[in-house]
C-alpha cells in the first residue's frame, strides 16, 4: 500500500522529540480523529535550525512528520511556509488517496509553529 519511501521514513523516523526551549510550537490534530502532532522549532538567522516532531498517528502520519522535518530543515521561514501537502506527498513517492489528510497535518503543524514564533518575534 505504501511506497518504499514512506516505509523507509516510517521505519526510521527523523527528528522525533521536542526541541528544548523551542522558539515556536505547533499543536495540530485531535485525538478523537486519531492523529495528533506537536511540532517544535528553533530559529536561527531567519532559518529553521532545528525541528522536532512528536506524532500520534498512522504510518502515513509518522512518515510525513519525518520527511517534513527533514525537508524544512535549513529553510527560511518563508520557504517553509510555502511548503504544501503536495510537496510532501510527492517527496514520499505518493500516498494512498485515503491517506492524504495526514500529509496535511505535518505541514500544518510546521506552519503553526512558525506562526507561533512570528507572533512572539514581530
Amino acid at each position: 500500500m505504501y511506497s518504499d519511501k514512506v516505509m523507509e521514513h516510517f521505519e526510521n523516523p527523523r527528528n522525533i522529540g521536542e526541541v528544548e526551549n523551542p522558539d515556536g510550537t505547533g499543536n495540530v490534530g485531535n485525538p478523537v480523529c486519531g492523529d495528533v502532532m506537536k511540532v517544535t522549532i528553533r530559529v536561527e538567522d531567519g532559518r529553521l535550525a532545528e525541528i522536532k516532531c512528536k506524532t500520534l498517528g498512522c504510518g502515513a502520519a509518522i512518515a510525513t512528520s519525518s520527511i517534513t522535518t527533514e525537508m524544512a530543515m535549513g529553510m527560511t521561514l518563508d520557504e517553509a511556509m510555502a511548503l504544501t501537502r503536495d510537496d510532501i506527498a510527492q517527496a514520499l513517492g505518493g500516498l494512498p488517496s485515503n491517506k492524504m489528510h495526514c500529509s496535511n497535518l505535518a505541514v500544518d503543524g510546521l506552519h503553526e509553529a512558525i506562526a507561533d514564533y512570528r507572533s512572539h518575534n514581530s
Binding site: 516505509m7 499543536n27 478523537v32 486519531g34 498512522c58 504510518g59 485515503n98 489528510h101
Partner: protein, 392 residues
C-alpha cells in the same frame, strides 16, 4: 522489509490459511475433474457427487437435519446479503432488526437498502459494555411489519457471543424469521442450528481454513426465501450460478476438519488467549481488554493501548517481528474511522484508535504467543515514545 524471518499470523478472524488437507482435497477439481455438477455425462457426476459430499460435511458441522438445507454461496457477505435482501425485497413486511455491532455485510446492506427508497427500514439494537444484546431490547423493537431479525452469533472484532437461542425464541414468538451471521463461530465453537433455533445462518469458508470465495447459507427446511442470484436454477433453484466445485469441496473438507478439531481446540485457544492477555497486561501499562472474559470466542483478544495508534503498532509489529494482526480503525478519506463495535461498547473514539485485535487458529503455537508478548512491549514503547499524548 527489515529482518523479518518469520510470520506469526494472528489475524485469523480476517482470514485463515487453507489447510493442507483442504488444498489436497481440492486439487483433483482444479485438474482432471473439471465437470459441471449439473451435466449428465461422467465428468459431471463426479462433480455432483463431490458437491453433495461437501453439503453433508457442512450440514454435519451445523447439526442441520437435512443436507438440502445447505446452500453454497461465494462467502459470508453473499450469505448475509441474501438472507437480508430477500427477506424484505418485494415483501409486505419491510422492517429489519439487527444489532449495532453487526459486520458491515449486514449493517451496510440494511443501510443501503434503506437508502434505495424501497420503503425498507431497520432498527439497530444497542449492546452492553461487553457487546451483548439485551433480549428485552429485541422484544421492544419488534413491530408488526418486522420481516427479519439478524443478530450475529459472535462479533468479529471483540469476540462476544450473543444469546442467539433466547433472541430467536423472542422473534419466533412474534412469528418473525431469525437469521444469524455465524461467520466467526462456524468451525470455532459449537454451532447447532437446532439448538440455536435459527431459520437461517451464514458462514464463510475462509474463516476456518477453506479457501476465500466459499460460504454457505443454512436455510431451515420450509423457510421461504426468494433467490438472490437468479439464473440457471442451481442449488435447487435458490442460488443460481455454476457451482464452484473446487471451492465447495474445500469448504466441505474444512468443515469436517473443524468438527474434529473443535473440542480440543476450544480450551487450548482459551488458554492461549488468557496467556496473551496476562502477558501483555503485565508488561505494558495502560492496556485495556475489550473482549469479554466469559462468553467470548476462544482465540480472540481485542485490546486498546493508550497513547498509541493502531496502524502504526501493527506495522511495526509486522516489520520487525513478522506479526500479522488487525487494528480497530480504518482510514477513510478525511480521518480515521474508529470501529463501530468499539464505539458501541462505549470505548471513546480517542482510545478506540489505539486498538488491536489478535485472533488465533488451530495453527497458533504457544511459542508464537510468547514472542508476541515480547514484541508488543518493545514496539509499544517505541510508538509511545513518539507520541505527544503519552508521557508514561
Amino acid at each position: 522489509m527489515a529482518n523479518r524471518q518469520q510470520t506469526i499470523y494472528l489475524d485469523n478472524a480476517a482470514t485463515t490459511m487453507v489447510a493442507l488437507e483442504v488444498c489436497e482435497a481440492m486439487l483433483p477439481f482444479l485438474g482432471e475433474s473439471y465437470g459441471n455438477s449439473t451435466t449428465l455425462y461422467h465428468l459431471g457426476s463426479a462433480a455432483q457427487q463431490a458437491a453433495e459430499t461437501a453439503r453433508q460435511q457442512v450440514a454435519g458441522l451445523l447439526g442441520a437435519e437435512k443436507e438440502e438445507e445447505i446452500y453454497f454461496t461465494s462467502g459470508g457477505t453473499e450469505s448475509d446479503n441474501w438472507a437480508i435482501i430477500s427477506s424484505v425485497l418485494g415483501q409486505k413486511k419491510r422492517h429489519l432488526v439487527i444489532s449495532s455491532i453487526e459486520h458491515h455485510a449486514v449493517l451496510e446492506t440494511c443501510e443501503d437498502l434503506a437508502k434505495l427508497g424501497l420503503e425498507i427500514d431497520f432498527t439497530a439494537l444497542p449492546v452492553d459494555v461487553e457487546g451483548r444484546v439485551n433480549p428485552e431490547e429485541l422484544r421492544r423493537a419488534l413491530r408488526p411489519d418486522t420481516a427479519l431479525v439478524s443478530i450475529m452469533h459472535a462479533n468479529n472484532e471483540i469476540g462476544t457471543v450473543e444469546p442467539i437461542r433466547e433472541l430467536a425464541e423472542i422473534a419466533h414468538e412474534q412469528g418473525v424469521l431469525f437469521h444469524t451471521d455465524a461467520v466467526q463461530t462456524a468451525g470455532k465453537i459449537p454451532v447447532d442450528v437446532k439448538e440455536l433455533g435459527v431459520d437461517m445462518l451464514s458462514l464463510s469458508g475462509h474463516k476456518f481454513h477453506a479457501p476465500k470465495g466459499t460460504g454457505a447459507l443454512y436455510l431451515r427446511k420450509g423457510t421461504r426465501l426468494n433467490a438472490f442470484m437468479h439464473g440457471g436454477g442451481h442449488e435447487r433453484n435458490r442460488r443460481s450460478g455454476t457451482v464452484n466445485i473446487p471451492g465447495v469441496v474445500g469448504l466441505g473438507k474444512a468443515a469436517e476438519l473443524a468438527g474434529e478439531w473443535l473440542e480440543s481446540e476450544m480450551p487450548r485457544l482459551k488458554q492461549l488467549t488468557e496467556k496473551l492477555w496476562t502477558g501483555i497486561a503485565a508488561a505494558i501499562p495502560q492496556v485495556t481488554r475489550n473482549s469479554p472474559v466469559e462468553g467470548s470466542l476462544p482465540g480472540m483478544l481485542n485490546v486498546t493501548v493508550a497513547g498509541a495508534e493502531g496502524e502504526a503498532m501493527l506495522m511495526y509489529l509486522d516489520m520487525h517481528h513478522g506479526i500479522c494482526i488487525s487494528s480497530g480503525s480504518a482510514c477513510t478519506t478525511g480521518s480515521l474511522d474508529p470501529s463501530h463495535v468499539l464505539l458501541a461498547i462505549g470505548v471513546p473514539a480517542e482510545t478506540a484508535h489505539g486498538s488491536l485485535r489478535f485472533s488465533m487458529s488451530h495453527y497458533t503455537t504457544e511459542a508464537e504467543i510468547d514472542t508476541t508478548i515480547a514484541a508488543m512491549s518493545v514496539e509499544i514503547e517505541k510508538v509511545r515514545a513518539m507520541s505527544p499524548t503519552w508521557d508514561g
